[in-house]
Symmetry: C2
Subunit: 264 residues, 2 copies
Amino acid sequence: MSTSNGNSQPSDSPKPNGPFWSGGAAERNALAELLYLMGSDARGADALPAVPILMRIVREGNTLFAEGAQAEAIYFIRAGTFKTFRTAEDGYEQVLGFAGRTELVGFESLSTGHYASAAVALEDSSVYALLLRDLLSVGQRNAGLDRTVLQAVSRAMVRRGELAGVMSAVAAEVKLARFFVHLSDFMRVAGQSALTFHLRMSRRDIASYLGVAHETISRAIAALVNLQLVSVHARDVQIRDMRGLQALCGGTRQPVHDSNARHA
Amino acid sequence: MSTSNGNSQPSDSPKPNGPFWSGGAAERNALAELLYLMGSDARGADALPAVPILMRIVREGNTLFAEGAQAEAIYFIRAGTFKTFRTAEDGYEQVLGFAGRTELVGFESLSTGHYASAAVALEDSSVYALLLRDLLSVGQRNAGLDRTVLQAVSRAMVRRGELAGVMSAVAAEVKLARFFVHLSDFMRVAGQSALTFHLRMSRRDIASYLGVAHETISRAIAALVNLQLVSVHARDVQIRDMRGLQALCGGTRQPVHDSNARHA
DNA sequence: CGCGCGATTGAAGCGACTCAACGGCAGTGG
DNA sequence: CCACTGCCGTTGAGTCGCTTCAATCGCGCG
């Protein structure tokens, strides 16, 4: 979703044909790769209708799509990390989420034809693009792809729900603890170390995502470090007490400032 | 989404055949009705494969599905209002959203097989159920239904993003103002009065949805009334100054300096 | 009628926001 | 090569607003 252990191997031949898009003869392979990436069994992947899948490389800091732009495609992330956010009239950036390998971005555009949020790469990344006109075409559907899309969207919905979960916590340390636990879970299912990972986003982005001021993130990190729950150096995070961290996540309302002394 | 003007006519013959499900000969009609309800053009609705659509009545206060339960179906709301929420270990209810006519609930279950949140009817309601096994079946797909599902899910994603939008506001009055504006928008697109509507949810539910204490909701309502922006009696809301209300929505947080997005 | 629940209002404390300053780091251009 | 300039991250101090605890009122319901 948001981190990587310095692995993100650019090994598997991204090399695009054009400035933006690759395609042509490679499309058939791209579709099979996409289904494999997203965890679908590739049964019948050879007997597929001609659903073109394009690949696109996005360098760190570049935008995959802009908020409000005419929607052309939805994107499956092949490698790298993105943040999605909306920009208010006053310029405030509300981060809606971080998306990594195997995740889907840009899907909200399907109902309106315009992207409801922007997506920017937090590191050099690559995505598979599925054009909307192919997704909505009546004929020549690919059942495997359809199922893959539905499942990916379902997961995206779950992650949006988690956003509400982290923002609902009152105390900033609790929000941050939940954020770290979610990150750890993501690393684990990605087959990487669940206790050591690298933040790909700035403190500001985290703050926006959690709904607090960015200074509060600094202080919350310091608090978790003081509690011996984690070690943080720059953007490298090491979880030292997962149990304690999860215990901290429990509190929703009511401050966690434990206070053994109830008022007498 | 969440309100109705006391119209919700139970006229169009809900009458279920069994205790829970209706079906049988009416299924063919139900599919056509569903497509019409969701705004799809019903072209070729007669030449549909046999996709069974079941209808279900849910009385006020009853649960459509429970959090964590094995998922059987996703639901298109035909009439009424639901709230979706997750319950923390300490019993705190985090409201994830309110869903009304033409909206979709339960979709998150698709990726895990279990419902990630619970759905409870806030008034007597009826839904169309689309069984997961039909949704995921490889053969005999209905292109119109597929497209309808995708669009409904897209809209649900947009609404989840709006949740982040309301929770990101700092001041409680701003959150509430945004909530009212969203409600008004929903009423308008539903073809009802955009300035007068009835809240179907409790103050507590609103508070949970907006991420504040329920007492704060009372005070925020009083503040908006004092500002002559709205009138509120019990759960009946009348918007008196839509411009002022929208102006209040503007405030988010201090603007974040441009930063990212180097060259598009 | 009494009980419970929803809603409102008051009082007090504290936690997060805001403003501000500082150090470190990377990119840039003289 | 090194100042210069942003940006990121941290830390401090003060104010404000929300949370929490508490009491009260109205209403529906058994």
